[in-house]
């Protein structure tokens, strides 16, 4: 396409220290974006293609490669930033919506970082998790609000209430929904093995369930999204739980988007869509135009699976999250998943990713408050996701009212992802967000699953230590316990919404 714009300043400059380089060509082999090639006795570089995925750096045996961001400056301007200007050039040239990968890059304060956890000193003793039990076991699903009991023939008290099915987690950390298609089968298998090893669960995303995951199906939460990709009765029956995806934090109000480049033969079979076609899910579920329709779908799925599996409903965090959550709580759903605006994605319109939705911290707090006020808190579990970066975020989300969290990006990072944000290109050199067989085989599930499991173990231990320090030896006593959190440099309105006191109070 013609334009008078010429070429844009490139984003990264890649250089090779020729003194150190031994011309082993590992950089050429590893870079799937085509930055490096050999010409005669030299390795040449096209910096314009670089995404800063660091694959070349990580595999250069001589530390000869360096990458520098923004080597060419624009005139500095606080309003007309580089991102704003480049977006305009891009759209002036193409006339299209700009797609972006990974989570929001909007430079907004992270509320989690302004919330400080509590510890016990003299009025209560800290608990020592090395020597005393600290319980992280978490049940997800409906809880009875009261129990009916009866006396049996020998005079013992027995339970008469029948409990709804619950998932039992050994840690409140689950692996979030990233579909086969968005990520590779090896990435999914790695996470599934990690979920099994750590006693937790993993989401399938909306891409169906590949036969390679059947051995781990009792650890899988199968997703039903608006495109219904890969959904049939066999799929529903294989999952440990079923999640209806109504919204996604990275792009509230629109459907999923898998670029055709990533729809390989296997992906096409698993999703039940044509090979190479863009898979764009509808914005709404076309059988859900109102809350009563949701409850019909929830019950239809439960009926189809004989009321044996919990059904989750995922929504994006938006203005009226509290009302949406209360609506879902009345729909027979067993858990509500709230996905904050920092949630990751393989591909989302930039304008949605950076501008629509509200922070997870606020959404969880207001959802928990609304459920408590309406006496519905036992009706559903609350699952938080979208921007959980470390164990402290998990603990804070739970104090704000969540039962458990999903992590997505963090799990990918544990497998090598450098958050370069080019997932939609399908060329992920780490073998994660790609379907190209030669790239996928770079990710060895034996190795990557261990890394993901290590991450979950490490965070779980850190949460145990944080709880012990707070003198809390079971996680249900942390849930919604706003007393154990203080806001640091947050304004009064935000503190009100979070129901958290300022530091020192």
């Amino acid at each position: 396409m013609n334009s008078n714009l010429g070429s844009m300043p490139f984003r990264y400059r890649v250089t090779i220290d020729r003194e150190r380089c031994m011309e082993c060509e590992r950089c050429i082999e590893n870079c799937s974006y085509g930055v490096f090639w050999r010409d005669g006795d030299r390795i040449l570089i096209n910096s314009r293609k670089c995404t800063a995925c660091h694959r070349c750096l990580a595999y250069c045996p001589r530390d000869a490669i360096s990458i520098e961001e923004h080597p060419c400056d624009y005139r500095n301007h606080p309003v007309w930033t580089r991102q704003i200007r480049e977006a305009i050039y891009n759209q002036a040239r193409t006339g299209k919506i700009i797609l972006a990968g990974m989570g929001s890059v909007a430079d907004l304060p992270v509320i989690f970082d302004h919330l400080m956890l509590d510890a016990s000193q003299v009025t209560t003793p800290p608990t020592d998790p090395l020597r005393e039990p600290v319980e992280l076991r978490t049940y997800l699903g409906k809880k009875p609000s009261k129990l009916d009991l009866r006396r049996n023939s020998s005079g013992d008290i027995e339970l008469a209430t029948e409990l709804a099915p619950n998932l039992m987690l050994e840690t409140p950390i689950m692996l979030g929904h990233m579909s086969y298609g968005a990520i590779s089968l090896n990435a999914q298998v790695s996470m599934a093995r990690a979920a099994k090893e750590t006693g937790t669960y993993m989401g399938t995303g909306e891409g169906g369930l590949h036969a390679g995951l059947y051995p781990y199906q009792d650890r899988m939460i199968v997703q039903v999204a608006s495109g219904r990709f890969g959904v049939n009765i066999d799929y529903l029956e294989r999952g440990a739980a079923i999640e209806i995806k109504l919204g996604q934090g990275a792009k509230p109000g629109i459907g999923g988007h898998l670029t055709g480049e990533k729809v390989s033969k296997d992906v096409s079979r698993t999703r039940m869509i044509p090979e190479g076609s863009d898979a764009i899910s509808p914005a709404p579920h076309h059988d859900i135009y109102g809350i009563e329709d949701l409850s019909q779908l929830v019950r239809a799925i439960k009926e189809a699976t004989e009321w044996k599996k919990p059904v989750f409903v995922k929504i994006a965090a938006v203005n009226n999250t509290a009302e949406n959550v209360a609506a879902v709580a009345r729909s027979s759903a067993d858990a509500v998943v709230i996905d904050g605006f920092r949630g990751g994605t393989g591909a989302a319109p930039r304008v949605f990713r950076d501008h629509v939705g509200i922070p997870l911290e606020v959404a969880i707090a207001s959802a928990d408050r609304e459920l408590c006020n309406q006496g519905l808190r036992n009706e559903v579990s609350l699952i938080a996701c979208g921007g959980i970066r470390e164990s402290a975020d998990v603990a804070k989300a739970i104090v704000l009212g969540a039962d458990a969290v999903y992590i997505g990006t963090a799990a990918l990072v544990a497998m090598g992802c450098r958050v370069c944000g080019s997932c939609y290109q399908g060329l992920c050199p780490w073998g994660i967000a790609t379907q190209r067989p030669d790239l996928v085989q770079r990710l060895d599930p034996d190795v990557a699953s261990k890394q993901v499991a290590n991450l979950i173990h490490a965070w779980t231990m850190e949460i145990t230590e944080l709880m012990g320090a707070a003198g809390v030896n079971s996680i249900e006593s942390l849930r919604g316990n706003r007393d154990r959190l203080r806001g640091y440099m947050l304004d009064e309105n935000l503190l009100d919404v979070l129901d958290v006191k300022p530091v020192g109070a």
Binding site: T123, P133, L147, G471, E476, S477, L478, N481, D483
Partner: protein, 350 residues
């Protein structure tokens, strides 16, 4: 650190307050001299069908007018008077204690299984949550709470506690950490039938408070014993759990113990933890709870605070320290220290 004490006579034989005063003062090392309190069941036989409301007034004229008007709205006052007090050199009176003998109008709580108690619950919360200079400190039939800021002996002398005779007594020697000047802060906390004394500080306060407030209770005191009282009222009176199961909900066994139980027991305990996870209390505590028919002691599941149990004839004693029991009953027949999470339940003979 606080000292708590409870004694119950299984045959409703009454004890005057002098021995309790002496027992509680044996644990002065556990207090700070800024608060103590006594609760006694069976002290108002002449008004045993009325709810006895003990109220602290900041100002006996203005605050009392508010309470009078509120009571008129919810029922009939049979009799009211100042609670007799006797100035003590070490007590600086900040409140005027008053008592009403009150008959709630049950028609004001239609559809309730225990309408009188619902009326009492609502009116107590209405008065205590308002900034009206009045605090209802006890509200049950034939029961009263006497408390103030000071050492146990001074508080007992202030009320002449030896003039009261009860068959269950609870007492609390406070180690103040907050609001030492407030007379309503020391335990016992009372709501109609229930009285609670606690030695501890629950780390799950925020979770428990959110939970109990979602059932319509209003917490205005910011004390553990207030939350514990409401939780027990909810679980026992409104949800119909037997006391031992209510305690199981508040101080549940660890999952690894539940996993080892026989199936029926495991199912029951798992269901209790699922249903009442937000009611479970965490952190260190020993709690003694009484109502007209029983006295119960229980600790957190790690037993981070002491609980000593004594028995002698028809008397059951629960105390932070053995010395307090021996001060009241030198010939006590048995002294035991129950394991963590093992409740002690004493019932008055029917």
């Amino acid at each position: 650190m606080c000292g708590i004490f409870g004694v119950m006579d299984k045959r409703r034989q009454v004890m005057d307050g002098s021995g309790i005063r002496q027992a509680l003062s044996m644990m002065n090392e556990r207090g700070s001299g800024e608060g103590a309190g006594y609760a006694a069941y069976g002290i108002y036989p002449d008004y045993q069908d009325c709810y006895a409301l003990h109220v602290f007034f900041d100002n006996a004229r203005e605050s009392k007018a508010v309470v009078d008007a509120t009571l008129e709205q919810w029922g009939t006052v049979e009799h009211d008077e100042a609670i007799p007090t006797y100035n003590q050199p070490n007590l600086r009176a900040t409140s005027t204690p008053w008592r009403y003998f009150f008959r709630p109008d049950p028609s004001l709580a239609p559809g309730s299984a225990s309408p009188e108690k619902d009326v009492i619950t609502n009116l107590v919360m209405q008065i205590n949550a308002g900034s009206n200079g009045a605090q209802v400190v006890s509200s049950g039939k034939n029961v009263g709470v006497f408390k103030a800021g000071g050492w146990p002996e001074d508080v007992a002398n202030f009320y002449r506690i030896e003039d009261y005779e009860g068959y269950i007594w609870l007492a609390h020697n406070r180690y103040a950490t907050k609001d030492p000047e407030k007379w309503e802060r020391p335990d016992p906390f009372n709501l109609h039938d229930w009285s609670v004394v606690e030695n501890g500080k629950i780390t799950s306060y925020g979770t428990n408070r959110r939970y109990i407030e979602s059932f319509g209770y209003t917490c205005s005191m910011s004390t553990d014993s207030e939350i514990i009282t409401y939780l027990i009222d909810l679980l026992v009176r409104r949800h119909g759990l037997e006391i031992n199961l209510a305690i199981r909900a508040l101080a549940p066994p660890f999952w690894e113990d539940i996993d080892r139980m026989p199936k029926a027991e495991r199912d029951l305990n798992r269901a209790i933890r699922l249903a009442y996870g937000s009611a479970a209390m965490n952190g260190p505590f020993t709690v003694v709870v009484a109502n007209p028919d029983m006295m119960v002691g229980f600790t957190d599941r790690s037993k981070l605070r002491p609980m000593v149990v004594g028995e002698c004839g028809d008397r059951l004693y629960i105390s932070s320290e053995e010395a307090a029991i021996r001060a009241l009953e030198p010939n006590v027949e048995s002294i035991t220290m129950p394991a963590a999470g093992e409740p002690v339940i004493g019932r008055v003979a029917p």
